[in-house]
């Protein structure tokens, strides 16, 4: 049974139809990511779940209870914001105990919960610090601790890592994932970063223009995109029409688009016999992308991208002739 249910959710801002009949179910304990470009409606849906935005139509259920018209304070949902939103006039301890005091818990219980939350986000020794004296990463840890200290039914994370540098982001990704597992939380994470979504999620819902374009596990969404948008957004796929595919492979293709992941191409100076389709092309550009080298290759006037591991042994130069192979099962019909 679904723990969170969005039933036919519509949201308008004036004439702007931001969410178009969203139906979505989230299982208890899952780490779910709403992924998509800016303005696609992912944050709006999250804010609707939090109660910070009113929906224009539909119903939201949490643990079987209709929370559509409930105030945010009555939903028992924790939230971590992109800009931390810590209270500047309160120190770490006061920020964390703010909600607990409103619940009128005993001071012993408040102290215990605050201590546990601080330990969990590894901020011991910073209890008396004010947000202004903490780094961005530490502030986001406090925001995370404040989100979990209330023991919410659901933890919402609205692009919490987008204002943090790449190295720290990776460490926080690990922390969030660990805390999610340790506490057995149900978490809904919003991001526009497909790599982040891949690393963190149990399930990804890909948003585009107010609708869910595709849902699935990271592997499913990555390897089996169902639309050209999904293919373009998730895996930097080569998206080719049937004519381009014919020029590439020499075989007739049914009308429609075909998506091929850059890393599924095999490149070699020698003739390739192991792949279904083999062709020859010319390297037109090469761009290092961390541990991967991305080549632009012209094959019969069709420009494709191919990723290979960045080894100096196998490097090609611009203008080099290269044999390119790809397996049929890696040519995904959209």
């Amino acid at each position: 049974m679904a723990y969170i249910e969005f039933k036919n959710i519509d949201k308008y801002y004036g004439d702007n139809h931001v969410l178009k009949g969203i139906n979505l179910e989230i299982k208890k304990g899952d780490f779910v990511t709403l992924l998509g470009p800016s303005g696609c409606g992912k944050s709006t849906l999250l804010r609707c779940l939090a109660g910070l935005e009113q929906i224009s139509g539909g119903q939201i259920l949490l643990d079987g209870e209709d929370i559509t018209d409930k105030d945010p304070k009555d939903r028992n949902i924790g939230m971590v914001f992109q800009q931390y939103s810590l209270f500047p006039n309160m120190n770490v301890e006061e920020n964390l105990s703010f909600g607990l005091k409103l619940q009128k818990l005993s001071s012993d219980e408040i102290s215990r919960r605050v201590r546990d939350a601080i330990d969990m986000v590894e901020l011991k020794g910073k209890e008396k610090e004010y947000p202004g004296n903490l780094s961005g990463g530490q502030q986001q840890r406090v925001a995370l601790a404040r989100g979990i200290v209330m023991q919410p039914k659901v933890l919402l994370l609205d692009e919490p890592l987008s204002a943090i540098d790449a190295k720290l982001r990776k460490s926080l990704q690990t922390s969030i994932r660990r805390i999610h597992k340790e506490l057995g939380l149900t978490s809904v994470f919003v991001t526009h970063d497909q790599d982040e979504a891949m690393v963190m999620s149990d399930v990804i819902h890909l948003f585009h223009d107010g609708v869910i374009e595709q849902s699935g596990t990271p592997v499913e969404v990555y390897t089996k995109p169902v639309t050209s948008f999904a293919a373009g957004f998730i895996g930097n796929y080569n998206i080719l029409d049937s004519r381009a595919m014919k020029r590439l492979t020499g075989k007739e293709w049914k009308n429609g688009q075909i998506a091929i992941r850059p890393e599924t191409f095999l490149l070699s100076r020698d003739e390739i016999t192991t792949e279904d389709y083999c062709m020859q092309g010319t390297i037109t550009d090469s761009v290092p992308r961390g541990n991967v080298l991305r080549y632009s290759i012209n094959v019969n006037d069709v420009e494709i991208y191919a990723d290979v591991l960045f080894r100096s042994m196998s490097m090609y130069n611009v203008g080099d002739k290269v044999n390119v192979g790809v397996a049929d099962h890696n040519c995904v019909r959209l």
């Binding site: 939090a50 109660g51 910070l52 105030d71 945010p72 304070k73 949902i77 924790g78 939230m79 914001f81 800009q83 939103s85 810590l86 209270f87 500047p88 006039n89 703010f98 909600g99 409103l102 619940q103 008396k128 004010y130 404040r146 989100g147 209330m150």
Partner: protein
């Protein structure tokens, strides 16, 4: 490079000293003049504290100062409360009203000093109580005069702390919007509010035109007392100016002390 930096520091220090001297010189001269009977030659002669003794023993003066403080504080408190409530509605429920409120609150800037009390008098002098009451009119008029300063200070600070975000965060922790605004947002903008209040205080404290038009001779304030004394004795006039300056300084210091006390607690 280091020498250039040093030079610019020296230049900045000289500029600051010149500005401070320029601002303090009239006050120092006024103070000196209030302590001497004559100042015909280069140096003043006939040191005396008579002007201050007379001033401090004159019950009229203290009444006037007391009235000034009261008619300054009441409109400032009321105006601040009303603006905060209005801003609560704007921030929490109707952000689209912000532009309209800004225009409304800026209008008093455009009204010349004497026009406002005359308009108020002609509109409300025959109005029933409490609107026809001179004190009521005075307080209400001062509220209008200081509105732009109080509003702008509060608005800038609300924008600065990101009030909507803080309210949302507090809501997610179980607070109502009202509680979040007054218990989370307001403590974070108190520094800015204090500065706005001091500015408003300075404006009301120094007013003569409005009080003279609305209250006339029935209600003597410090400014009117000063105006009265000016006709009698130059030395006592200087003493009044110095005492009023000190009173304003004490009020400002108290306000900043209270505000910095809160800030210290925050920084500890």
């Amino acid at each position: 490079m280091r020498t250039e930096k040093k030079k610019s520091h020296v230049g900045a220090k000289i500029a600051i000293i010149v500005i401070i001297a320029y601002l303090l010189l009239p006050l120092i001269m006024t103070f000196i003049y209030s302590l001497f009977q004559e100042w015909i030659d280069i140096a003043p002669t006939g040191f005396t504290l008579a002007a201050y003794t007379e001033l401090f023993t004159d019950p009229l003066f203290w009444k006037a100062v007391g009235r000034t403080v009261v008619i300054s504080i009441i409109p400032i408190i009321l105006c601040t409360v009303f603006v905060l409530l209005a801003m609560y509605v704007v921030v929490v429920y109707h952000p689209e009203w912000d532009k309209m409120i800004q225009i409304l609150c800026t209008i008093p800037y455009a009204i010349q000093g004497v026009i406002l009390p005359i308009c108020v008098l002609s509109l409300y002098s025959s109005a029933p109580e409490p609107f026809g009451d001179r004190m009521f009119m005075l307080v209400a008029t001062y509220m209008v005069v200081i509105l732009p300063y109080v509003y702008q200070g509060i608005r800038n600070n609300l924008n600065g702390v990101g009030a909507p975000r803080l309210i949302e965060a507090a809501q997610m922790l179980g607070a109502s919007k009202f509680y979040a605004f007054f218990r989370v947002v307001i403590p974070n903008i108190m520094g800015g509010v204090t500065i706005s209040v001091m500015l408003a205080m300075a404006i009301v404290f120094g007013d003569f035109v409005i009080i003279n038009t609305l209250a006339g001779g029935q209600f003597m304030t410090a400014q009117m007392y000063l105006y009265d004394i000016m006709k009698k004795s130059g030395q006592r006039t200087c003493a009044v100016i110095v005492v009023l300056f000190v009173v304003t300084l004490i009020i400002s210091a108290c306000a900043f002390f209270l505000q910095s006390k809160g800030k210290d607690r925050k920084d500890r």
